[in-house]
């Protein structure tokens, strides 16, 4: 199996504060990879480092054979990496439909974009009902759906998801994760999923990594991590 995204010895810092140290991580093409860890372990920072956003990174980040470590965010994104950031990045004053159009900014195939709008509405029918509504008036769950839908409009090969469950009701979270599995299966989009909710993440992931205070401490098939005694006690809570 080939890695679509390959991180080797990656470090990252905000100003003078080191957050990541010598991190290795592979995202297998077509798979769902989960990145677990407690609050403040550096999960969000790792995703930001991949997109060269707000952090100073070091080490090697290779996406589909290209060393993207020093590239501007826009160019990394244009290779086919869609990042659903923490806080969801909603354009609150634009309508739902306009948010999706912004997501398709890099594409020139108008007919394809129109088809994809209908396809993402198929995943998230509630967004279709609210197409003309200002995105800032959506509920938290709807905004998370919109963020994922906007990311899909880029036609990504890799989807980076930063805590899609954050602050949402359990029933909404289940719905979103069900749809994420479908997207992974139907669209062949690889997913790197950052989650504090390890249970949830291990349900959908094939492979998982565990980050503790900026260092990778464990990785393996999701089932293996689920069975691990220390993970169970510290992260799964049973």
């Amino acid at each position: 199996m080939t890695a679509l995204l390959e991180l080797r010895d990656v470090g990252a810092r905000y100003g003078a504060v080191d957050v990541l140290h010598g991190v290795d991580l592979d995202v297998v093409a077509g798979g769902v990879t989960a990145l677990l860890g407690a609050n403040g372990a550096g999960k969000t920072t790792l995703l930001r480092a991949v997109c060269n956003m707000r952090v100073r990174g070091s080490g090697s980040i290779v996406f589909d054979g290209q060393h993207v470590g020093k590239w501007p965010t826009e160019d990394i994104v244009r290779l086919g990496i869609a990042h659903v950031p923490d806080g969801r990045g909603t354009f609150v004053q634009l309508t739902v439909a306009e948010n999706l159009a912004v997501g398709a900014h890099t594409r020139r195939d108008k007919a394809g974009v129109a088809r994809d709008v209908e396809r993402v509405y198929g995943y998230f029918p509630r967004l279709k009902e609210r197409a003309g509504q200002q995105a800032g008036t959506l509920s938290g769950g709807e905004q998370q759906m919109l963020a994922i839908a906007r990311a899909l409009m880029l036609k990504p090969r890799l989807l980076l998801l930063d805590e899609p469950s954050f602050g949402l009701a359990p029933v909404v979270v289940r719905e979103i994760f069900r749809i994420l599995s479908r997207i992974n299966r139907d669209e062949g989009v690889s997913i790197l999923l950052v989650e504090q909710n390890a249970n949830l993440a291990l349900d959908v992931a094939d492979h998982a990594y565990l980050l503790e205070t900026g260092r990778m401490v464990m990785n393996g098939p999701a089932a293996t991590l689920r069975a691990d005694e220390s993970i169970r006690r510290s992260y799964l809570g049973y």
Partner: protein
């Protein structure tokens, strides 16, 4: 009645200028959260470029287009070469930079073109006028309205316009959508430069051209932007027309021409006290 209608309509005509200046200010405010105090001087300099080319023998509209292009390029250059370096600077630093630009452009114009007050031609044939409006006022109103309409269409219906609105609201999220935010910022400054240049060239036949010609107009532009809502370009444009009418009627019937400019200051103060978001400003609400 004729006198009243004349004041009203000519206020609307002036309002087109204020609306344009207000729109230019709001365009830059939305993407940078700063007020470009040099906006008026940029327009004034473009008007001098037009005048110089006309005096050199170029047809009016050729000179007009060249000056508008100059407005675009100089606006884009100011963003690229100066303002971008202060993207992460404290607000007060940026205010000082803008004031510095104002004085630099003003003095540069005085040095190159002298401080003498000069007449500026109007491109509109005299036959257009009627008893309410002069032909220049009619042409100026039509041109500024057409420009506002074009800018509106650009932001509302084109993908670049949408990307500019997105980039102004949430630059980081825009980058994650592959939008080249820095390029759009430069484009936005260029467009604001165009709008300001057209406003100054249209105002010049009325206020005459000299390096300080825009100081009063910029004040009315501020008043218009605040009145309509600094976060709402179309509110700001509407504010321009309201300010134009209020200024003219107050000048004719209430305070007299000498105190006309203080009307703008009164509007600014009253708006800031009573309705800081402006008449059409929406307080941005969002659920989390």
């Amino acid at each position: 009645m004729v006198a009243f209608l004349h004041q009203l309509l000519s206020g609307l005509a002036n309002g087109g200028i204020y609306a344009s200046v207000a729109l230019a200010l709001v365009m830059i405010f939305q993407s940078t959260h700063h007020i470009n105090f040099a906006q008026g001087e940029q327009g004034m300099f473009s008007a001098y470029v037009a005048l110089t080319l006309i005096q050199a023998g170029l047809p009016y509209w050729a000179a007009f287009l060249a000056a508008v292009a100059f407005g675009f390029l100089s606006g884009a250059a100011i963003e690229r070469l100066v303002i971008r370096r202060f993207a992460h600077a404290p607000v007060l630093t940026v205010v000082v930079v803008f004031l510095g630009l104002l004085f630099i452009i003003n003095s540069l114009a005085g040095w190159l073109f002298t401080y003498n007050v000069q007449a500026f031609p109007s491109p509109f044939p005299p036959g257009l006028g009627n008893r309410y409006l002069s032909s220049h006022e009619i042409g100026m109103m039509a041109l500024t309205l057409a420009m506002l309409g074009l800018i509106y269409g650009f932001f509302r219906f084109t993908s670049v316009g949408l990307a500019m609105r997105a980039a102004a609201q949430n630059p980081e999220s825009s980058r994650l959508a592959g939008i080249r935010v820095n390029r759009l910022l430069t484009l936005g400054w260029g467009l604001a430069g165009v709008v300001g240049a057209v406003a100054a060239i249209m105002a010049a036949p009325i206020v005459y051209i000299e390096p300080n010609m825009m100081s009063g107009i910029l004040l009315y532009g501020f008043a218009a932007a605040l009145l309509g809502g600094i976060a709402n370009p179309w509110g700001a444009a509407a504010g321009g027309f309201i300010v134009g009418v209020v200024e003219n009627l107050a000048g004719a019937y209430v305070v007299g021409t000498e105190l006309k400019l203080s009307v703008a200051l009164v509007i600014i103060i009253v708006v800031l006290i009573l309705r800081p978001a402006g008449l059409f400003g929406r307080a941005v609400t969002s659920r989390v």
